[in-house]
């Protein structure tokens, strides 16, 4: 090339580079704009607008604009003939997680969900004493997570785990996302399905078990364990003997009825090859994760045993003895470490074995009560759950039509339902079954949307995916944050509780009318916490009085707006029930006000000397 030509070529090349760079800038601009606009919209949301439908009434329309822009840009990247770079798609996913799971921490001044506050209290107790209190609370029989939190916060020199509380869901979901993407990639033929599965997983994950606690960490263990088994411990060869089925065999008839090919499981992925040293290491990882799970959560290890058992049963896991080993480890811990728990709760643990009808009744029907808004939220959750399951079933059918059934994946989507027959878990088992099956359901759901590539009609597929994403994202804010009226922690309630801790002498009782009080984040053993409970009738004032007199050291009655909203919205008490009850308390003349703020009051017994300030 002559010197002149080189001189001429240089600006042309630069122009070409700029021309190539512009679309890249535009691609990155979409997630950046969505993040900025979404966070701006969330910051302008007002806690006071949270109504009986939850956080959704406090969200500004700009948030939906941001999420629509994000979805459109993501799907364009996925459905293009040449898909966008992985980093760009990942950036979209991270923004989605921040906007979905960061919505509450950005809008609300205090971390939500009082169960998380209680976990902080458990960790605080262990950090102070180095011991557990299984007699006080059953969760102390599985103290692993609290012990870890206690150790980490003390070593870090922070007083408690409160700083971790608000943003834990975002952190946990990002980790789940990484594993779900890998799982989807392992079980799907192309990357598009994996990205789409990941995208749908987040809005479908409305269950809300990702706040700081053992269940959130254990969900990560569960996902990783399954991922390791699916990746390295599948069969390398599925056996080529395809016996011809007799023409009238029931399986053949069923396949024909479902319009499936004779071999719906023809193209199953095989294990990734690794050196034997690596495999030994991976088994050690599996065992370490399961051991940590066993000592830190009640339900997840059972789900792991069931899922691994199901994989082994259909010969999709080569570690045949693993389920037995895991079950032995689980039983060993329960009979040694959790004695205090099961000694008094055998019926709780095994009473519902086989009682599927009772579990379903308890889980699905009895939870639907409360005010109109709450009932609508519960109904939406049920509809959302059924829609996800039905669409996933259709996706599974579509995969099987192509011979890509993947029995391992199907088993993992179905195995968690076996938990219904084993434990009622206080009526929460439905949520957990949904959560355990969700990653696999999302992968099957994505298979419904992604066309067989190269496709002629991928615009239609992208449009369908877009509509489904938008619907799921819209439903997410109602389903996940639907109880926000009482799941948020109100600053006034918190101030009242802080006053109690600052002024109440050790050993006294703290009495409340419902359990929805943000207490026990410290000093869990120093006081007796006595929520009167759900049995609140006309005799409530007498019940409060009796409860307060029961402790000779004294007692404080705390009445807060958070409790009233909980009673009205969740327990189905009539409108104005809380203030009416408080008026009765005041009118009875037996209680004396010792602390007040606009939304919370604290009383002691009239003849008590305690709290006389």
């Amino acid at each position: 090339m002559s010197g002149d030509a080189a001189l001429l070529a240089a600006p042309a090349a630069a122009r070409q580079r700029v021309r190539d760079g512009l679309p890249a800038v535009a691609q990155w601009a979409a997630p950046a704009t969505a993040l900025a606009l979404g966070v701006w919209a969330l910051r302008r949301g007002d806690v006071a607008d949270i109504g009986s439908l939850g956080l959704v009434t406090a969200l500004r329309p700009e948030l939906y604009v941001a999420l629509t822009l994000l979805t459109a840009s993501f799907l364009r990247g996925v459905f293009r003939t040449r898909p966008a770079a992985d980093t760009l798609l990942a950036a979209h996913v991270v923004v989605l997680v921040v906007l979905l799971f960061g919505a509450a921490p950005i809008i609300e001044p205090l971390p939500r969900v009082i169960s998380g506050w209680l976990h902080v209290g458990f960790a605080d107790y262990i950090a102070r004493t180095g011991e557990t209190l299984p007699q006080l609370d059953a969760r102390f029989s599985w103290p692993g997570f609290f012990a870890l939190t206690a150790m980490a916060t003390r070593a870090a020199g922070i007083p408690d785990a409160m700083p971790l509380l608000a943003w834990a869901p975002v952190g946990f979901n990002l980790l789940y996302g990484a594993v779900v993407f890998r799982l989807a990639r392992l079980t799907s033929a192309d990357a598009r399905t994996a990205w789409l599965a990941l995208w749908l997983f987040f809005p479908a994950n409305w269950v809300g078990q990702d706040y700081l606690g053992p269940q959130a960490m254990n969900y990560l263990f569960y996902l990783i364990l399954v991922m390791v088994l699916l990746r390295w411990f599948r069969p390398i060869w599925y056996g080529g003997r395809h016996r011809a089925r007799p023409p009238r065999s029931p399986v053949g008839l069923l396949l024909r009825l479902l319009r499936l090919p004779p071999r719906p499981l023809l193209l199953e992925p095989v294990a990734q090859r690794a050196s034997s040293a690596s495999l030994v290491g991976l088994v050690a990882v599996v065992l370490a994760l399961f051991a940590a799970s066993t000592v830190s959560h009640q339900l997840t290890p059972m789900a792991i045993v069931v899922c691994v058992g199901a994989l082994v049963l259909v010969r999709r896991c080569t570690l045949r003895t693993l389920p037995v080993l895991l079950a032995v480890m689980l039983m060993a811990y329960i009979s040694y470490g959790a004695v205090t728990y099961w000694a008094g709760h055998l019926d709780d643990m095994f009473g519902s074995v086989g009682n599927v009808g009772g579990t379903i009744n308890h889980g699905a029907v009895q939870r639907v009560r409360g005010d109109e808004g709450h009932q609508m939220v519960v109904l939406l959750r049920l509809v959302l759950t059924v829609v996800v399951w039905v669409l996933a079933a259709v996706g599974a059918w579509r995969r099987m039509r192509r011979g890509q059934g993947d029995l391992g994946l199907l088993m993992l989507a179905g195995a968690p339902f076996l938990l219904l027959a084993m434990q009622s878990y206080g009526g929460e088992i439905f949520l957990r079954v949904y959560a355990f099956a969700l990653p696999f359901m999302a992968i099957l759901l994505a298979a419904l949307l992604v066309p067989v590539w190269p496709a002629r009609r991928h615009a239609l597929a992208a449009l369908t995916a877009g509509v489904l994403s938008i619907v799921l994202i819209g439903a997410f804010f109602v389903a996940r944050y639907g109880n926000e009226a009482f799941e948020q922690v109100r600053p006034a309630d918190h101030r009242a509780v802080e006053w109690l801790y600052a002024h109440a002498p050790a050993g006294v009782s703290f009495v409340s009318v419902t359990s929805n009080v943000p207490w026990r984040a410290q000093g869990i053993e120093r006081y007796r916490y006595r929520p009167i409970g759900e049995d609140l009738g006309p005799t409530t004032v007498t019940a409060i009085d009796e409860e307060m007199r029961r402790n000779p050291k004294g007692a404080y009655l705390i009445m807060t707006k958070g409790q009233y909203v909980f009673a009205e919205s969740f327990l189905g008490k009539p409108q104005g029930w809380g203030p009416d009850l408080e008026r009765e308390v005041v009118d009875s003349g037996q209680f004396r006000l010792v602390y007040t703020n606009p939304e919370a009051r604290i009383y002691v017994l009239g003849n008590s000397e305690r709290g006389d300030r």
Binding site: I126, A127, T129, G130, E131, T132, P143, G144, F145, A147, L148, A150, M151, A152, T153, R154, A155, A156, G157, I158, P163, L164, L175, A178, V179, F181, R182, M217, L220, F221, I224, M227, V228, R231, Q272, A274, S275, A277, S278, V280, G281, L282, A284, V285, A288, L289, A291, A292, S293, V295, S296
Partner: protein, 112 residues
């Protein structure tokens, strides 16, 4: 890198170092380093899997160490942190030595 980080974190805790630095680095180290060092030993091929397996394994090791201290009545966050640092350092030392000695297969996997 892991070795340096382990030393740094321990020094911060022992010397009661600057609070913000300590509050960020110690939990991050506990949540990532020990498991990641072990995951590197296992030779997990892709970075994303290695990282999440590393995080999960770190949390698992943290749980086992912390609860172990409770059962043995030896509760001391510093002891726990030192144990985890020892695991991380041992794993990364093994990795280092293995890389130096050439690429022959090593039997020790050091997941625990």
């Amino acid at each position: 890198m892991t070795l340096l980080a382990g030393g740094g974190v321990l020094a911060l805790v022992v010397s009661d170092g600057p609070s913000i630095l300590r509050a960020v680095s110690v939990p991050a180290y506990i949540a990532v380093a020990p498991g990641l060092a072990c995951a590197r030993l296992i030779r997990i091929p892709d970075g994303l899997s290695r990282f999440v397996i590393g995080v999960a394994l770190s949390l698992a090791l943290g749980v086992l160490v912390a609860q172990g201290m409770i059962h043995l009545h030896r509760w001391s966050p510093l002891l726990g942190l030192s144990t985890l640092t020892a695991v991380a350092s041992l794993a990364s030392l093994t990795e280092l030595v293995r890389n130096r000695l050439g690429q022959h297969p090593w039997r020790e996997v050091g997941a625990e």
